[in-house]
């Protein structure tokens, strides 16, 4: 993983007569992402670390990486991190937050991790109202293991383990776990976002910022779903995935806040 290249923090600055309008967040390491081109993981990593930068909480933030494509999230996120077993990220986050209650703790999981093998941990973490941020990357597929069916895979969607399309008879329906979690009093803020366009990125950033603020205030669990793409698993170009998101995914997983604190806009 050690690739020699100049620090991204050494990009041209005002000193050379230019205004710096965009750069890599301080809290993102210089390592190039291993994610496939156009994958949502990269964007979400960046936005998350941008928020940590802007809130100036790098020294107080502890993250938990899942098992999934983002298993190496800790290579990129320059905060203290733990790598959990498949599905157990929020139990690990619970352990951290409970012994270090004044730190900002987040978990970061895919749909297989959070909504299949880790369903019990997901539900009970939220039910306890653990004062953490849960980031949920819903790309409707198991990216890391080569594109198998996920609990969130759409009915009829072709994957390597649903070669004739997901059939309800054998695989049940796509699970809308965020909607389920809104039912739990421990969930303070539940929102569904996407990073398929700049406006989506801006909104995600707001949602993450709010979540850390709520965590600071001790409000309970904040759950941020990002309806994501997986160009490799879906066997599409990144551009095609945007269309698929808009036409197929968003109708089932509509974007917006699912549960807002009383009085919040």
């Amino acid at each position: 993983m050690s690739i020699e290249r100049p620090s991204n923090h050494d990009f041209p600055s005002e000193a050379e007569g230019m205004d710096l309008v965009y750069c890599r967040p301080e809290t993102l390491t210089d390592l190039p992402f291993h994610y496939c081109p156009g994958c949502s993981h990269s964007v979400v990593h960046r936005v998350l670390m941008e928020v940590v930068d802007e809130l100036n909480i790098q020294d107080k933030t502890i993250g938990v990486a899942p098992v999934g494509c983002s298993v190496f999230a800790y290579h990129y996120m320059n905060v203290d991190m733990q790598e959990a077993a498949h599905g157990r990220a929020t139990a690990v986050a619970t352990g951290i937050k409970r012994v270090l209650p004044d730190r900002f703790v987040f978990s970061y999981q895919g749909d297989g991790d959070l909504a299949a093998i880790g369903t019990a941990e997901t539900i009970h973490t939220v039910n306890r109202g653990e004062n953490i941020l849960m980031v949920f990357i819903n790309n409707g597929i198991y990216g890391m293991t080569g594109g198998q069916m996920a609990p969130t895979t759409l009915v009829g969607q072709v994957t390597t383990t649903s070669p004739y399309g997901r059939q309800v008879e054998f695989a049940g329906h796509p699970i809308k776990i965020a909607d389920m979690l809104t039912q739990l009093p421990g969930a303070y803020y539940v929102t569904r976002q996407a990073v398929h366009n700049p406006n989506g990125v801006r909104k995600l950033k707001k949602a993450l910022t709010k979540s850390f603020q709520y965590q600071k205030e001790g409000k309970g669990t904040c759950f941020v779903e990002v309806v994501s793409n997986c160009p490799s698993g879906w066997k599409m170009t990144p551009v095609e995935t945007v269309k698929y998101l808009e036409e197929q995914m968003f109708p089932l997983y509509p974007l917006g806040d699912l549960k807002k604190p009383d009085g919040a806009k």
Binding site: D59, I62, R88, V92, G95, I96, R98, L100, R128
Partner: protein
Amino acid sequence: MKEEKNKKGEARLMKGNEALAEAAIRADIDAYFGYPITPQSEILEYLEREIPKRHGLVIQAESEVASINMIYGAAGAGARVMTSSSSPGISLMQEGLSYIASAQLPCLVANVVRGGPGLGTIQPSQGDYFQAVKGGGHGDYHLIVLAPASVQEMADFVFDGFRLAEKYRNPAMILTDGALGQMMEKVILPEEGSLKKVETPWATTGKPASRDHNIITSLFIQPEKMEEVNHELQEKYKKIQSEVRFEEIQIKDAEIVLVAFGLSSRICQKTVDLAREKGLKVGLLRPITLYPFPFKRLNELAEQVNFMMSVEMNAGQMVQDVKLAVEGKVPVYFKGRMGGMIPTPEDVLEEIESVLDNEKVLQD
């Protein structure tokens, strides 16, 4: 005078499970995460009752899978943490224990063993010996395993377990059973606050500008690196061998040695007395640490005795290690009961006598 007594600790009559739980508070655990299961629910109950009045934190998790992963998180954050369960629950923790061993985090796990396999019975057993000492989960790793034989040791080994776990950054297990957990005996509790906290510069506590980010992981994707990590673990396990502990009873002139741990060692003590009354020179070696195991001492003893007999509450697990230890120098026999049944001292004596009779027949 009174103060002196308090400092040393007053003798109390306690259940094994409660003594263990009280010792955990006195060992200043930062947190306990657990899930109820007989015959050890008293541990969680005791802590839920006492911790809010004193110090620390206790959470009833949704499963043993969750509790061991909460342990992983909290231990990784530098806290002194503990969980406990009984056999089926410990099976659920194996994945987590493998991760904890690989990530080299200290923690203490108590297994109050019940009869199995499957849901089994709530009666005491030693059927989890293999699981405890051979790793239990996937990959090449070991837990440090302590086997108490009294309520006193149920308390003491909490301190010893943490001391070893923190010294080696390795999960430690107290392998006990339902009888030791449930029975009441006199116990002098360890002194509160006497177990100093250790430095944990590797912990995930939030990255200050002055250091790189700390990462707790068990993922080393390059095989070269993974092998390196394995070498490091094996080196550590070698060092851990120096922590071996065992107790010898009437060994000096023994011609027959019983090998037994935990509850069965208590039974064998009585057998030794009964045998000696009959003029049979029987002694007992009780491994106190099951990992590391007293291989060396058993090998030495093999030079002195006619045979050994491993006495266990299972189908014969530790006996394999005893056989490995003696390297075929003397016969190693086995006496055991399974499924929650406990051998009596007389059963064991009978087994010794039948071996002697057989040997005589062979000689005649």
